[in-house]
Amino acid sequence: MHDLRHHGLVYYALKRGGSLHPITLPKELTNETGIMNPSIFLHDGKILLNVRHVNYTLYHSEGKKFPHTWGPLQYIHPENDVTLRTHNIMCELDGNMNVLNAGRIKMNLDTDPTWNFIGLEDGRLFAWEDRLFLCGVRRDCYDDKGKGRMEMCEIEFIDGEWQEVSRNPIPAPGDDGTYCEKNWMPVLDMPWHFVKWCNPTEVVKYDIEDRTTTTVHLDESKFLKAFARDLRGGTQVVPIGQGRHLAFTHEVDLLKDVFYRKDGHYNHRILVWDQDWNIIHHTKDFHFLGTQIDHTTGYEYNIEFATGLTFLDGNVLIAFGYQDNGTFILKMPEQVFFDFVARG
């Protein structure tokens, strides 16, 4: 596992027949700012990839030699725009992961924002009952304090472009009293079900008709002490046979430098659940593209986020964002992937 810890999963995969595919988009679509947190999904015989495009470019000095004036980790917006805007760009890919076409999803149901995080963030792409959805967090319509809720955004290809056709805010189960819900993972073979939280695993069901959410599985006695950090949502939850499911999750270290300026570090992990939502297997935590290590503190610094996973022609396709600035698809032979998962 040495190369995994130091060089990342991508290095591990490439050494074993995998390949890494960079996604680039025309600057007319992006103004060269960040494209990140992609979600990949096979739909109607097409390989679709939703890419989150933001109006900032992350500045992250992993090695701390060249921090920004305001700190080692900064979101660099236009200086006259305090908003964090997200647009979703839908891409169709060919079998070699080349972008065949790309265009911004037209959000027909947008309203005047009430907060400065605008747009549907980190949308996971999936279909339930033949309806294609993006599901992510939206924080621009509930109050002026940043309250966020998961939202299912139904999209269709109409008149030559992807368009939002319905918008379905998802309340938190119970009294819906939480501040912000995010990173719920849709369970691909269980319509309207999400893994809301991983440890202990909480599965919820959303009723799209009456717009209520119910917890259908939660056993707090199953909390695993093996993990140093919270396990947060990542990709879709995909079935892998025998009632088992698998997903990439992520973990965050929110750090401060000596001047108390924010910094951060993300790890990923793969979880496997049995048919009763017991975590029966997990990998060690890892990065995709490696990281730089502070040799005096042992801290690592890397910003990555995987939000999409699918299987195609004997390979697993993992879509992840790097530093909020770049988008990649890692292709791994299934055998290599499951061997990696099995090693733990």
Partner: protein, 402 residues
């Protein structure tokens, strides 16, 4: 290419050169955000200051392309300058950066630092256009900091004494068209190789004093004559913009200068050896003056600078009894119209003078003097004839730069 570089980098992830090469490819593909991440990673990974320097500069440029991220652009360029303060590129970019914000003193400081450093710097291939671009930045900033002639001179030198690329040439032209040329166009020894009418001793002249080459014109006509004579009407300062200072100090000419300003005449007496008379040139009896000072029938040079009164003074001169080898006659037609100029031309033509350079101008448009010679006294060099229309003095005197 991107795929190839990406694979190479992933399989050698701590190799800063490979990270940098990948960053450059993203940059070339106008994928600025990812390029920023990789440049920063390269800078963090590397111990090579040059690579770190190039990375930070490239980061600044990527953010600059995205627009409206000035603090970040500035910070990246400052990081580069702090890293290798002895290199010019970051100073050039900082000078341009501060220009965009009209922070002219900052711009000037970095341009001047860059100019000091640029001579021996090898090209780093990061889009630095070279020391002439720094010279442009310095000139521009100098003008906006001071608003003085010094700033104009710097821009003028760029236009006429420097080979510029098209972009900077157009910018210099635009600026000079809006702020005008400097009041004076001095000659320096560096101009010698381009001087059209050299004469013996010319090569030793370090600088002249006239506003627009009048002293050099006189010496050219007289082929560097020593011990000539002059009458200088409207002498002004003994050296600044003075047409006879060079003749006296370097070529031992004698003569009489006249000015109405007591202060300037006092200054003249203190600093020059030749005679100065403080008087209203329109009220002088010139025949008496010439008698008193034993002025002979031939005087080599007459300067006529009486502003609106030039024509009145000209009419008072004993032109039948005295001939002048060269006359520089100020008519200021660009502001007073052509009446004075045309009347003077008629008078001087009647007395045998040849208008060698008509409508001498301090820009391509603004004519203010005529330069005459008398064929009885000097041999006319056909090469010294001016054009028929306006003769911008720099173009008249200097070969264009190669």
């Amino acid at each position: 290419m991107l795929q190839k570089l990406l694979n190479e980098q992933v399989l050698d992830p701590k190799n800063a050169e490979k990270v940098y090469a990948l960053a450059q490819e993203y940059d070339r593909l106008e994928q600025g955000a990812m390029a920023v991440s990789l440049y920063l990673k390269a800078a963090d990974l590397s111990k090579d200051k040059i690579l770190q320097y190039k990375s930070m500069i490239s980061i600044g440029r990527c953010y600059d392309r995205q627009g409206n991220r000035r603090y970040t652009v500035e910070g990246a360029f400052l990081d580069a300058a702090a890293l290798l303060p002895e290199r010019p590129e970051a100073h050039y970019l900082l000078s341009k950066f501060y220009e965009m914000g009209n922070m002219w003193k900052h711009s000037l400081m970095h341009a001047n630092i860059g100019l000091k450093l640029s001579v021996n710097s090898r090209n780093l291939d990061i889009g630095y256009p070279g020391c002439k671009a720094l010279a442009f930045q310095a000139a521009l900033a100098k003008w906006y900091v001071t608003g003085t002639q010094e700033g104009k001179h710097a821009l003028f030198d760029l236009k006429f004494r420097t080979v510029l690329d098209t972009e900077h040439k157009e910018r210099v032209d635009r600026i000079l068209n809006s702020i005008f040329y400097p009041d004076t166009i001095p000659y320096t020894q560096e101009d010698f190789s381009r001087f059209k009418f050299p004469f013996p001793g010319c090569e030793k002249i370090h600088n002249n004093y006239s506003k627009h080459f009048q002293d050099l014109f006189v010496l050219s006509v007289f082929k560097g004559k020593k011990n000539g004579t002059y009458l200088e009407i409207g002498s002004g300062d003994p050296f600044v913009h003075n047409n006879t200072a060079l003749l006296e100090t370097e070529f031992d000419w004698k003569g009489i200068s006249i000015d109405s300003s007591q202060a300037l005449c006092y200054n003249f007496k203190e600093n020059r050896h030749n005679t100065v008379i403080c008087a209203d040139a329109t009220e002088i009896g010139y025949e008496d003056l010439f008698d008193k000072h034993c002025v002979g029938p031939v005087v080599d040079y007459l300067q006529m600078d009486g502003d609106e009164a030039s024509i009145q003074i000209l009419k008072k001169l004993p032109l039948k009894e005295h001939k002048f080898g060269v006359i520089t006659f100020e008519h200021d037609s660009y502001r007073l119209g052509t009446e004075i100029r045309d009347e003077a031309r008629a008078i001087l033509k009647k007395h045998g003078y040849v208008l060698l350079v008509n409508d001498v101008a301090f820009t391509e448009l603004c004519a203010y003097e005529d330069w005459y010679v008398h064929p009885d006294i000097v041999e006319i060099d056909p090469a010294m004839r001016g054009k028929k229309d306006v003769n911008f003095v720099w173009d008249y005197m200097m070969e264009p730069i190669a």
